[in-house]
Subunit: 447 residues, 4 copies
């Protein structure tokens, strides 16, 4: 782990971009995937350093702003993930711990009501201090304390801090994904259209669409083993799944462009009522980040502006758009049970952020494809508790359960998800009009 | 059916209230329940006249306004239900039909995008013409035409108009309920607090709460027979229900007042995140229509202001309040499958609007109670399509399906529902913050 | 035509419309102008009856609604003007007076903070009770009490109630104008486009535009005599007026249409910054009530929809539109001092509401014209206190002074102003974006 | 002029704060006031460098954000003032000039509609690129070009660029003041409450309030000479001023605290109607930046949080608060003519930004005081055109005239105004609810 690109190194390099990118690239190459078999400390270091590495292409100014309510500043992600360890790990379990700054708890609590007062979310992008440099110092301060705690814990998986630490790492991985989707929106909002990655997008070849059958019956759904999972993936339980079939690949940009060309955004009959209202109010006529110039479609990606890739999976669309497309295509979105039934026998492979794809890359062959690592797949399942669901105790219990209202489950994982964060039973969720995540479409149909 | 209080009669009586009420009362007594076995014309007449009868206590001015976005003016309900028959029955199936007025289609279309342009919902309460008198004339005009069509149809249930006519009657019954909930809100908004019904509220005795067990297994859910049902109740399909139990009666005002007294509205840990945001933003601290004066709770009902009835079922609360109460009580809300499994063996009896209760009346004995005729019961099931759901063709298909997004299923029927409108498989739905309907709480729990 | 239709008479007839309209029409001809030389009681009766007469063309439903924030329901105008007498005349000066209803003071106070709590302005249009009939009863109740007080007062102009009573009559006249402008907006909001007056609009001949010179120097401005005036017209004071000239007639519809045709609404250089922002935000492209159909302009008036009259003065435009037009025309709006200097030697004649014009009627001959009785004329003078201004004591002092912020003075009087309400020194005022009053343009220019 | 702290120097020092502050301080000492007698180039250099010097205490992150709609990011001020020279000086008058970047014109145009499309003001704080460093490079690029143009111009005051260059310098000085008031708001919005200046606030002694008489008569008002002035200060014209008197000093914090203690914010009778509405809606109970803790008042200044200074002039209040205070004090605000009549015989001295006061400092002796260099003084004069006003031609004409609607004139100059920017005839203007400028109160009264 020795030569992983540490936070302090990165920060010094923020003003010498060429060198940074070089270091960053070499760093990426040598990082081994740190798995559950590694020591807690090694896993902690690996996850934390991966967050910092994502910041390499950024200028100091890029860390500060929030381009819309859903978007948090990069600086805030860096601090909030540290606050999580400070509040739920260090404060209760490291007796010698002294808080870095009395106001950080107020500034960097996101929504844990039981963990005290919070700074207003809408104002996150207005706070220039602590500076980026001070936030990186905060991270190092936390890292030092957590690593000294890890030393004490050793292999003792029954230590009360163990589970929270593990949760903290998964939490940090979630924010790695958000950091990317948020900075993408920040860059897109800027008329200068900055570029995050200079590596050109790959071009993939088209693959024909097949259907996989699902047999009617009672299935067990949800997480059941000893490995880590979020509370919302439990308990494993029986669910009745109807006869149906599911597409073997994702919908492509070319297919979605056909929907647009066919007047998809102008036919109310294709839309849920709430979706049609949003289409009208927001004047939506394409996915977020698409722009039409001289009759051709262009897409803004982390690699900058460019012509739309026909074979890449369509992304950055809302539930209501995914639903309207499915209706137009004479199909529907899968339920989350259907998705899990199909996916659980498949390996977790794909173009994850660790492989620096930065963008959904398209299908690569026959069989069930693109389940993970391209785009999150909207399901037609509202995000509600599994039968018998019990949230964790205390403030940690606010992690998932309290959002079980008017959001929709997405399954899989996107190109911005860390590989180690993907799971067959993972339940991502967003409101029906959210578009700034890497979200896409896999079709299903009744048998 | 001869001496039923007809639309024209009612209208003439709007300026001589005493006489109206007399007629209305006597009318109520003599109205036999018109069942499916009656002729189509008889059923049409009965439903249409019931709508008019609900207007008897209103002054001309009361028909005009809309006290919030969810509320439509009484005048609009009267006209819109007529427009429904005009558009979907008369225009296609009565060749001689001439539209009453060229602008009515624009004014009285609610949301049927495929049926043409609509007047903006937010402006419904600003339209003083057509006058109440003209709207009643419009109703009579439609009635005459529909009844002449009924005559032609006779018993021919295969006539293409038959199903739409039937749908129109159920549609009208839905608006009877809305008319009542809407005028209640209009009256409550008025500092004069007008009274809709002079009949005093009944006082019921308390009944102890029992639990009915539900056995785990696969159940068939949804409407299956030949009788009328809305498209969203179909198809009948298999669903896996877990072991659980359901309360035999509704939560009472007294119980809900305890939740309030225990700080229910001040403990974020009890609330869904969206719910807590609404509680804060709207300063909710009790159900809609409750007011605390000198330490005691009062409730505004269609019978005016009065002290809260301890034994009556709590009503006019949102999904998020029902959910928070259930969490406080150490229970949860039932799923719609659980509710249907328990309810389907029970008779449909209760304090429906036809019995002029105007208000949930409380429990009356042992066994499974208050399933119908008191308040709609929030379930923890989001309102989505049943597996294999197919909306009806054409504009009629906009009736239910397009609202399957971010709403929640309510089961049962309320005191404002016409008795003949209640069904075991009925799926009512409202957004998670809606409170102006007669909505309440039945608890469930894992086994 | 002899017997004027009194308030009480009108009211009795509201339920027998045909007869009402007949009486109303015959009444109009015989109304003698009740001047200051008449007894207080006679003047009171005359003004109050004039208000009621304005309601004759209305249906019951028309009295209830408010079509935008600026607009009050007719019912509210009828009640509020009565509340004014109740609060400021009867309560303090008629010891035997008993309030008609305990909640009326809350419902019908407009903005007199010192007179107690008020009903929220935005909710005025939601209140269906008291009914129209009850409001007319309230008026009669107040009238009876005021007339009995008048009897006691007799000719005693030093009686403390005298001035407030007089103020109440002028206040009522202001609401007569508002009642008309408000109902015009209500009718226009309605897709049915009801007609207030069946009398066709007069067509006037065009008159050439001349300029009258104003000599530089110190002038005395403001109200100085013993006659009634509002406090904001005082004190009479010296003001320096520069050499300038003022147009002898108002700008016509034809002239304003030329401004539109010349791209007036698309050239930011013509507009004040706030005005341009409003033009963009509200998509203004013509005065309120103008509509373009098939290339021709139509205007909605109290006489219904019709082709735009070329020679009638343009009306229903905001300060920023008047200002932009003047800039386009190479001129400017007059100051209120300039207007008063020119107007004070002119007789107060014109097409006032008493003559039932209902609409600006156009120029009628040579000389200084259309100062009164067509449209209020925007000046370039912000509405501020005259030097030495002292508002009246108590709640009555809230009448004018507290609005001296971000509003603009209009001079003259409109076709909706009662003739007896016009004065050379009268200062009307509205915000820079108000359009629903009868407002128009008279140009001025530097010498 | 040689060792003035140049833009490039400053920027290099942004990451070594101690040295920066040292350089900044020494720089301040040696800067001579550059007057009109200096060469254009010297004046240009001096003004531009003063802007950069104001940024010395800022961290990179501080330049980026906008804490409310009125506030622009420091980065934007730096760029916009450069854009002004680029657009109005370099583009037309330096034929060899090549624009620095094609999108800068879009990003940094404020409101000059005739100068092309603009970036939306509300999004200024979301733009992270160009970086601070790039913006300073832009400034240097512009400076080089302008200085080479200055060389060509020499002493030729008839060169067409001369006047625009001069306007550009005054424009830049205005933005120096805005930069300070904006960064103050940014710092105050931040819960960390950063400190701009470490120099402690001076404490001044109290001075008694006297009145200076103003004799009635015709006065000449406005700018008349050959020196620079904005177009809105012309033409010099006659105005009639009434007998009155004006306070010799500003209202102090102690006096304003008395107004608060006396319930000033709770008595509607003291307020203009619009002001009272704002007080209610915004929950105002003190000037901006005041906070009450444990019964004592504290004030946030550029020197950080601290106890309120009793003798310092009250500042950061709106027109409606100044007006309410004056009413409470039995006085009124002066007209701008009164202010000018009194001020024009007084020297322009005070605690300007060049003297690094950063805060209003309080009265210093007998006679007419604090006219300049403490706080801008609200007048009761709405901001309208002087008689005969002609805006400049072209886009430059949008500088002042188009804002003559619903704003109020402030006279004098504040502690954040550059000394060389103050003039006896200067007309500053802001809307009636603006509070983030250094605005205060000087009383006047009728004779």
């Amino acid at each position: 782990m020795g030569n992983l690109l540490g936070a302090s190194t990165i920060h010094q390099q923020l003003h010498s971009r060429d060198q940074t990118i070089f270091s960053f690239k070499s760093a990426m190459t040598v990082v081994p995937l740190v798995s559950a078999s590694h020591t807690l400390a090694a896993r902690y270091r690996s996850v934390r350093e991966a967050t910092v590495a994502l910041c390499a292409p950024l200028e100091n100014e890029d860390f500060v702003v929030s381009s819309m309510d859903d978007v948090s500043p990069t600086k805030w992600h860096l601090a909030h993930t540290s606050w999580f360890f400070e509040t739920f790990v260090l404060a209760p379990y490291l007796s010698s711990y002294v808080a870095r700054h009395p106001r950080y708890a107020f500034l960097f609590n996101s929504y844990y009501v039981q963990a005290g007062e919070r700074h207003c979310r809408a104002q996150r992008g207005l706070v220039t201090r602590p500076t980026v440099s001070e936030v990186f110092e905060y991270r190092r301060y936390i890292d030092e304390a957590v690593l000294s705690l890890c030393e004490r814990i050793g292999d003792d998986i029954d230590h009360p801090a163990w589970n929270v630490l593990e949760l903290g790492l998964h939490h940090e991985q979630q924010h790695q994904e958000l950091l990317l989707t948020d900075i993408k929106h920040v860059f897109w909002t800027n008329p200068m259209r900055p570029v995050y990655s200079e590596v050109p997008l790959p071009v993939m070849s088209a693959v024909s669409q097949e259907w996989q059958q699902i047999s009617e019956g009672v299935y067990e759904i949800g997480h059941g083993g000893e490995d880590f999972s979020f509370d919302n993936e439990s308990p494993r339980h029986k669910s009745y799944v109807q006869s149906s079939r599911m597409a073997t690949r994702l919908i492509t940009n070319a297919e979605y462009a056909q929907f647009i060309a066919d007047g998809g955004y102008r036919q109310p009959a294709l839309w849920l009522s709430a979706g049609w209202a949003t289409v009208q109010a927001e004047k939506w006529n394409a996915p977020l980040y698409w722009e039409q110039r001289d009759g051709s479609w262009y897409e803004f990606t982390l690699c900058g502006d460019g012509p739309l890739s026909a074979t890449a999976p369509v992304t950055h669309l809302s539930y209501v758009e995914a639903d309207a497309f499915a209706r137009w295509a004479g199909a529907r979105l899968p339920t989350e049970a259907e998705w899990e039934v199909v996916a659980r026998s498949q390996p977790i492979t794909g173009h994850f952020v660790d492989g620096r794809a930065w963008h959904p890359s398209g299908a690569v062959g026959p069989g069930m494809q693109q389940l993970f690592g391209d785009v999150w797949q909207w399901t037609q399942s509202p995000y509600v508790a599994y039968p018998g669901f019990r949230p964790s105790a205390g403030a940690i219990g606010e992690y998932n359960g309290k959002f079980m209202c008017d959001q929709w489950v997405l399954r899989g994982a996107s190109c911005a998800t860390p590989r180690a964060h993907a799971r067959h039973t993972y339940r991502n969720f967003f409101p029906s009009d959210a578009r700034w995540q890497f979200t896409g479409i896999r079709l299903a149909a009744d048998a």
